[in-house]
C-alpha cells in the first residue's frame, strides 16, 4: 500500500480546515473593527468613555435606589438604571419560580378542573408575546386603579392609586439592633440544637419549631424592653401625590408581574417535564411504604426531578433578565432606558453606550448561568 501524499491525508485536511476557519474569523473581526474605525474617522468621532463621568446627566429618574439628582454624572445614572434592572430581575425570578413550580405541580393534579385550569394558564402565558403582556398589565393598572384623590385605602396606611402603591415606611431606631441580635442568637442556638438531632428527623422538626417560636417570643420581649424601636412613616396625600412612605410605581409592578407571569408558564412546563421524567416505580414504591403524597413529592420525586428541571430553569431566568430590557415600552427607567436611551441620545455616544449595555447584560447572564451550574452540580444525582 502506498502512502497518500500529505495534502491528501484526512488528518492534514482537518487541521488545514481548522486553521483556515480560525484565520477567516480573525480576518472578519479585523475587518469589522477596521470598518468601525474608518467610519468613526469619516464622522470625525472619537471613541472613549470619558462622557460617563465628565458630563452631568441633566435628567431626572423617577425610581432611584441610590442617591441621584440631575447633577449626577451619566455613570451614576447608568448605575441607577442597572439597579432598577436588578430589582425587576430579582423580584421577577422569585415570583416566576414560585408561580411556575405551583402551576407545574397543579397541572399534574388528578383533579380534572385544577389540571385544566393550570394548562390554560400555561398555554396563555407561554403563547402571548411578552411585550403585549407588559403593555396589558401597565394599561390595566393605570386605567383601573383610581387617581390619588380617590385612592383605595387599606386601614388608612396602605394606598392603591394609578400612580403606585404606597405603604408605610418603617424607620428603625438603634434599639432595633438589640431585637435583631436577640432574634438571630435564638435562631443560631436552634440550629445548633437541630444538628444534634440529625438521626431523628421527627424530633429535629419539633426542636426546630420550638426554637423558632422561642426566638420570636424573646425578640418580642426585647422589642418592648427597647421601647418599640420601630416607627412608621405613613404616606399622606399632599398636593398632587402621596408623599412619604414607600412607593411602588406602576411601571415596576406591571413590568415585574408581566415578566413573572410570562416566564412562569415556561417554568411550569419544565417542572411538569421534570416530575414526569421520574420513573413511576419510585412513586409506587414510596406509596407502598405508606408515605403521604406531599412527602412523596418533596422527598422522592422533586430531588430526582431537579436534575431535569434546573438546566432549562437557567435559561428561563436568563430570558426573564434579558426581557426586562422591554421596560422601555412603559417608561421604566432600567439600564437600557438610562445608559442605552437618554444618555446615548444626549451625548451621541451610540457605540460606547451600546457596547457597555451589552457587556453588562452579558455579565449578568454569565453570573446567573454560573450560579445555576453550581446549583445543578449540587442537585445532580451522584454516580449517574
Amino acid at each position: 500500500m502506498t502512502a497518500l501524499a500529505i495534502w491528501r491525508q484526512e488528518s492534514t485536511r482537518f487541521v488545514a480546515l481548522q486553521i483556515g476557519g480560525v484565520l477567516l474569523i480573525f480576518a472578519l473581526i479585523a475587518w469589522l473593527l477596521g470598518n468601525v474605525a474608518a467610519n468613526f474617522a469619516a464622522l470625525d468621532k472619537t471613541f472613549g468613555f470619558g462622557f460617563l463621568w465628565e458630563l452631568p446627566a441633566n435628567y431626572d429618574i423617577n425610581q432611584t435606589l441610590i442617591d441621584y439628582s440631575a447633577q449626577s454624572t451619566h455613570l451614576r445614572a447608568a448605575l441607577v438604571g442597572l439597579l432598577n434592572t436588578f430589582l425587576v430581575a430579582a423580584i421577577g425570578i422569585v415570583l416566576a419560580t414560585i408561580l411556575g413550580f405551583a402551576v407545574g405541580a397543579l397541572r399534574l393534579s388528578e383533579n380534572w378542573l385544577v389540571s385544566r385550569l393550570a394548562s390554560a394558564y400555561v398555554e396563555f402565558t407561554r403563547n402571548t408575546p411578552v411585550l403585549l403582556l407588559i403593555l396589558l398589565w401597565h394599561g390595566i393598572i393605570i386605567n383601573t386603579l383610581p387617581h390619588p384623590r380617590q385612592a383605595l385605602s387599606i386601614a388608612d396606611s396602605v394606598f392603591l392609586t394609578n400612580r403606585g402603591v404606597y405603604v408605610p415606611k418603617p424607620l428603625f431606631e438603634v434599639g432595633f439592633l438589640y431585637v435583631l441580635a436577640v432574634f438571630f442568637a435564638g435562631l443560631g442556638a436552634t440550629w445548633l440544637l437541630c444538628r444534634r438531632q440529625r438521626d431523628t428527623p421527627a424530633r429535629r422538626l419539633s426542636v426546630a419549631v420550638a426554637g423558632v417560636v422561642f426566638s420570636v417570643a424573646l425578640a418580642a420581649i426585647a422589642f418592648f424592653l427597647a421601647g418599640n424601636p420601630i416607627r412608621f412613616e405613613t404616606p399622606a396625600l399632599r398636593g398632587f401625590n402621596y408623599q412619604g412612605g414607600l412607593s411602588l410605581i406602576p411601571e415596576l409592578v406591571a413590568l415585574t408581574w408581566a415578566l413573572a407571569f410570562y416566564t412562569s408558564g415556561f417554568i411550569a412546563e419544565n417542572v411538569r417535564a421534570g416530575i414526569m421524567s421520574v420513573d413511576c416505580g419510585q412513586t409506587d414504591a414510596a406509596r407502598s411504604l405508606g408515605l403521604p403524597r406531599i412527602r412523596i413529592l418533596r422527598l422522592i420525586v422533586l430531588p430526582q426531578a431537579m436534575r431535569v428541571i434546573v438546566p432549562p430553569l437557567t435559561s428561563s431566568y436568563l430570558d426573564l433578565t434579558k426581557n426586562s430590557s422591554l421596560a422601555i415600552a412603559i417608561g421604566y427607567m432600567d439600564l437600557v432606558a438610562t445608559l442605552g436611551g437618554i444618555t446615548l441620545n444626549q451625548t451621541g455616544r451610540e457605540m460606547e453606550a451600546m457596547l457597555l449595555v451589552m457587556a453588562v447584560y452579558l455579565l449578568i447572564s454569565l453570573t446567573i448561568a454560573a450560579f445555576m451550574n453550581w446549583y445543578n452540580n449540587r442537585v445532580r444525582l451522584p454516580g449517574r
Partner: protein, 337 residues
C-alpha cells in the same frame, strides 16, 4: 461561506458609500428619504386616507420639489425623539424634519447641521382644567409626562430645580404614549413644546377640559437638520427653507407663482423664480425653476403654516413669533442675490 462573503460585500458597499454626496445618492435612489415625527397633529400625522400631512411633512415635500421638481418623490421614516439623530447620521434619512430644537450641543457635539429655524417654539405645560392650577409655579409635587431624549426633558429638570420644586417624571417615548398616560391620570401634567401641546389638546375628546399654562419655560427654535460635512446638501435644504420664507415676504404664492414666473418687474422675485440669472445656482445642482416648483406644489411659508397650524385649523395657532419680520415676527430670509 457564501453568506459571510455576502455580509462582507454588503459591509464594503456601506463603507464605500460613507462619503458619497447626498444629492447624488438621493438622485440615484429616485426619492428623498425624510425623517418625521411618529405622529403629531399639525406637524406630521396621517390624514383619513393614510397620507402623511403636516408642517414638517410639507418641508420634506418642498425639498423633494427642489431636487426632483416633484413634491411627491419623498418617502417618510417615522422617528422618535431618541432615534432621530442616529437615523440621520447613519444615512437612513437625508433630512430630519421633526420639530427638532437647535442647541449648541446638538450642533457642535453631535455633529449635525441645523440649516435654520422654521418654527420658533417654547416649552409649556398642559393640565386638566378641573385641577384648578393657574401657574406652572404651583406644580410642585406633580407627576409630569415627558418625552425622553428631548430638550424638554432637560429644561423640565432645570425649571423645577431653579424654582425649588419637586416632581415625578413619567418618561414616555412618543406623543401618543404621553396622551394615553395623561388621559389615564398617570401624570397630572404634560410638558412639551407649546405647539405640541396645542396639537395634543385638540386630539383629546374634549379640548375644553384642558388648559395650557401661561408660562413658557424655554426657547425651542425648531428646524430641519442634515448631516455635518456635506455643504452642498446643506445649502440645498437651507435655501429651500429660505425660498419658502422669501416667497411669502414677496407675495409669491401657489396661486400666482406660475404667472409671476412668466414675467415680473421685481428683480428679487425674478431671481427667486429663475427668470434672471442667480449667480451660483448651478453649483447647487438644481433646475433654474426649482423655487417655482416648490411654491407651485407646496406653497410659501405662510401657506404651509396656515394649512397645517393656522387659525383655520383645529390647532388654531397664531403666527406670533413665526410671522414675517415685516409684521413683527422673526421669519427673515437672507436675500436671493
Amino acid at each position: 461561506m457564501k453568506r459571510i462573503l455576502g455580509i462582507a460585500a454588503a459591509g464594503l458597499l456601506l463603507a464605500g458609500h460613507a462619503n458619497a454626496a447626498t444629492l447624488d445618492e438621493v438622485r440615484a435612489r429616485g426619492h428623498l428619504q425624510c425623517g418625521i415625527n411618529t405622529g403629531l397633529v399639525g406637524f406630521a400625522a396621517p390624514d383619513d386616507k393614510g397620507v402623511w400631512r403636516g408642517f414638517d411633512v410639507d418641508f420634506c415635500r418642498a425639498v423633494a420639489a427642489a431636487v426632483f421638481g416633484d413634491a411627491d418623490k419623498v418617502k417618510f421614516t417615522n422617528l422618535t425623539g431618541k432615534t432621530r439623530f442616529t437615523a440621520l447620521r447613519s444615512r437612513e434619512i437625508d433630512v430630519l424634519s421633526r420639530n427638532t430644537t437647535w442647541t449648541f450641543s446638538r450642533d457642535v457635539d453631535l455633529q449635525l447641521t441645523f440649516i435654520g429655524v422654521n418654527y420658533y417654539d417654547g416649552q409649556g405645560f398642559m393640565i386638566p382644567k378641573k385641577l384648578g392650577i393657574k401657574s406652572a409655579k404651583e406644580l410642585s409635587g406633580a407627576s409630569v409626562c415627558i418625552q425622553t431624549g428631548t430638550t424638554t426633558e432637560l429644561n423640565l429638570s432645570d425649571y423645577f430645580r431653579a424654582n425649588k420644586m419637586t416632581y415625578q417624571p413619567v418618561p414616555v417615548e412618543t406623543n401618543s404614549e404621553a396622551l394615553t398616560n395623561y388621559l389615564a391620570g398617570r401624570c397630572d401634567v404634560y410638558t412639551t413644546d407649546a405647539s405640541g401641546l396645542a396639537a395634543t389638546r385638540v386630539a383629546t375628546d374634549n379640548p375644553e377640559a384642558h388648559v395650557v399654562l401661561p408660562e413658557i419655560i424655554s426657547k425651542e427654535p425648531l428646524g430641519p437638520v442634515v448631516r455635518q460635512g456635506d455643504d452642498q446638501w446643506a445649502d440645498i435644504v437651507r435655501w429651500t427653507l429660505n425660498a419658502l420664507i422669501a416667497a411669502e415676504e414677496h407675495g409669491v404664492s401657489s396661486a400666482n407663482v406660475r404667472k409671476l414666473a412668466t414675467g415680473t418687474s421685481n428683480p428679487e422675485i425674478a431671481r427667486l423664480l429663475g427668470k434672471s440669472e442667480l449667480q451660483g445656482r448651478a453649483r447647487l445642482g438644481l433646475a433654474p425653476d426649482w423655487v417655482v416648483k416648490i411654491i407651485a406644489q407646496v406653497g410659501n411659508y405662510g401657506e404651509v403654516f396656515g394649512r397645517n397650524l393656522g387659525p383655520d385649523t383645529p390647532l388654531g395657532i397664531a403666527r406670533g413669533l413665526n410671522g414675517m419680520w415685516t409684521r413683527g415676527g422673526l421669519m427673515y430670509a437672507p436675500p436671493f442675490r
